[in-house]
Amino acid sequence: MRTVRIGAGQGFYGDSLLPVLDVARYGDVKYISFDTLAELTLAILEKGRRKDPAAGYTRDVVPMMRNLLPIAKEKGIRLITNAGGINPRGAARAVAEVARELGISLKVACVTGDDIYDRLDELAARGVTFADKETGQALGDIRDRVLFASVYLGAQVVADALATGADVVITGRTTDTAQFLGPLIHEFGWARDDWDRLAQGIVLGHLMECSGQVSGGNYQVGWEDIPDLHRIGFPVAEVSEDGSFVLTKPPGTGGRVDLKSVKEQFLYEIHDPTTYITPDVICDLTTTRLEQVGENRVRVSGTKGRPAPPTLKALLGYADGWMGEGYISFSWPKAYSKAKRAAEIIRARLEMQGVRPEEIHEEYIGINSLWGALAPEPVNEDQINEVRLRIVIRTRNKKDCEVLAREFPPLLLSGPPTASAVAGTPQPRELMGLWSTLIPRELVEPHVQIQVEEV
């Protein structure tokens, strides 16, 4: 049976740029796929684009390509990424520019049509309500505050882009799994209704899309024994034409691929495991078989698929007020009590100045900043050497956030003793709400385009 090898390059915007070089050099792969977009990433990119209209894509694609293109070109590896974010043309231009600088001839395909920001009124006129996907709640006055709107496109357009002969495929909001299923559709010519094979391709994509999280990273119990995380091997899959595959990693790298690491990623962020919905197929993950077949080798097979949904998910981001914060640390003795007293002082100071936040949240770093009310209260305060207080507020205006930040430094002189490390006055951040909704696919897919540029 025909097989192809495919590797993972990055699991999010900001992921390490080093492991992909091992995948390219030693992974013996024909394709490397990058998933750079989480729900939150588009919000981050939108903030960037407002400062600079040429931005809006994941900017680390430039240094990444600078290191990777020479190896990829030499070995004939094709690269697929959704680094385009909300500006895929900008990303494609930037990658073409890198190729020019390096003197490498390159064919770059750029996929657009996922961005519906400029089409919201037109779509509304055609009957799209933009009701919340889960609650059915109407979009209402949020409409006027929308800052970006992107539809999740599936793997078919990635396969179509590869069919142009492109060395690099750059898209905007294609799904995480599309980066991986796309090359398989292209390679094996899987039909649009070959639901079981498509489902296997989605499981492959889902397992690989978070890079190191399937090969020994974030390994919850037993992490102490995972070797050489500093040189973790990003996942590589050996895929057969029937859709079954063996998940592994490049030889000589650290990390580990075993049943535990694969299981943890297998059910990661998928909600209902019987109905994992993607634009390409609906997968039943309760039908998948996982078997350890060797050291750092897990075989995955058997996933059943059902017909793709008639709608596509869209994610809208909207302005949702401001967030302000401040930090201060206290040392032994009674570090925690001092930090709590400091929080009382800050709250009173806000009230004295008429600042009434929509929400105020306090955390004691070292005690409960990650778990909040789920964290047990310390039994013996004398054993706590230091505590860092963080207070954070959400308000409708930026000024209130500045008032909060301004209140921390004075505590050094006029608060409880042994205060330190206020770290200046953090700048207020604009918050973005995210809104998920469903759009009939026939209103989106005719607008999808592939542009090819040759350098």
Binding site: E264, T286, D320
Partner: protein, 107 residues
């Protein structure tokens, strides 16, 4: 004889986010652990455990092929990652919090 155990003694887990929900998978270490968590780690129990930080409700699925329970805890992330005020705005540590939950089992 009944005894109290913590889930970390018999399970591993991982959590992530989707909107304002925390998505947690709890994996039994072996067949015996699978029977225990199926019986004792109910939707109600998990909802009660997370109530101090999550408005709820909680959904639960059994995934027998990997001997796991999947939980989706709604209203758990302070409005969702992009507007949450919490340090752990993605609920990455909720899996560990669940592993600290105690259950009573028969010896």
């Amino acid at each position: 004889m009944a005894k109290r155990i913590r889930l970390i003694d018999i399970c591993h887990a991982r959590s992530g986010d989707k909107g304002d929900a925390s998505d947690i998978a709890l994996f039994a270490n072996d067949e015996a652990a699978w029977e225990i968590i199926r019986k004792h780690v109910t939707k109600e129990r998990v909802a009660e455990y997370f109530r101090p930080v999550a408005a709820g409700p909680v959904e639960r699925w059994e995934v027998p092929n990997v001997q796991a329970l999947k939980f989706v805890v709604h209203g758990a992330l302070g409005g969702g990652a992009s507007r949450s005020l919490r340090s752990d705005n993605l609920g990455k540590t909720f899996a560990a919090a669940l592993l600290r939950m105690e259950i009573t089992v028969e010896e």
